[in-house]
């Protein structure tokens, strides 16, 4: 079994800390740069890619595509400015897709 790598894409302020726990960091500032590093990581041997919500918002299409694939797992994380709620939104979308109605978050919304 081959080993995979873990990466995080985001603005420098948010992701520098990840370096200390052994995750490879790819600091980017624009969504274009994020897109190209995401594409690069996908073609290489990365199993899990963390990406900040702020960047993910602009890369929705490619992330949706990747979500249908077996690997890699793209996980949205909040950045240093706090969460945008996209991650939760995605779970909600999955529920709606699978069941047809949102039964998980009904109480809140």
């Amino acid at each position: 079994m081959s080993t995979y790598k873990i990466a995080v894409i985001g603005d420098k302020d948010s992701i520098l800390g990840f370096k200390t726990i052994g995750v490879e960091t790819f600091p980017v500032t624009s969504s274009e740069a994020a897109l190209s590093s995401l594409k690069k990581l996908v073609s290489e041997n990365y199993g899990v890619i963390f990406i900040t919500e702020e960047l993910a918002r602009e890369l929705e299409d490619i992330i949706n595509d990747l979500n249908k694939r077996y690997l890699p797992a793209v996980v949205l994380i909040p950045n240093s400015k706090g969460t945008l709620g996209i991650g939760i939104q995605q779970i909600k979308k999955n529920v709606e897709k699978a069941i047809g109605a949102d039964i998980l978050f009904r109480k809140e919304g």
Partner: protein
Amino acid sequence: MEIRVNPTRMELNRLKKRLTMAQRGHKLLKDKRDELIRQFLILVRKNKDLREHVEEELSAAFSKFLLARAVMPAESLEEALMYPTKTLSLEISEQNIMSVYAPKFNWAEEDTGSEEDSSIYPYGFADTSAELDISIETLSSILPQLMELAEVEKAVQLLAEEIEKTRRRVNALEYVLIPRLEETIKYITMKLEESERGALTRLMKIKDVVRAKM
């Protein structure tokens, strides 16, 4: 709408076989869908809880990190974090949820440092701020949950995809194929009965004619 066929007995038998097959497939797929949804619900609840938790912790870690960045010169901060003491290696195995294959992550931390008891902090405490320590501690304590979140979320996404596909199939069978087959079968039976009646009346008529001549 019915399928265009010749109203023959052979065709009727063929269609009946197809109908039973379709019904069996429909039942199986329906069971599959129900079980998938059950599994999905368990996972998605876990996913939600994990994500809420992780987001909260990460935000806390990030805000501390931002503070650290503010009180420390950027160069010394980067210098402090330049050489991590750990590397992560990730192995991926498959887990099978109702024949949906989802990745399962087994990760291990490896020390890169030569020191025997390497801590999670890759720097000395002399010229770094306390906020940085807290931030990194939170980050490294959240890592197991982050990996679990990645695993669960992937499984949820794949399951959602599979459920959608299965539901489409169930509906196609239930609302299109099976009604059409039933209708066609009905059409053929009626046609056959009709021609049978036709044959019978013809026979009776002929009999009358023959009898009148004698």
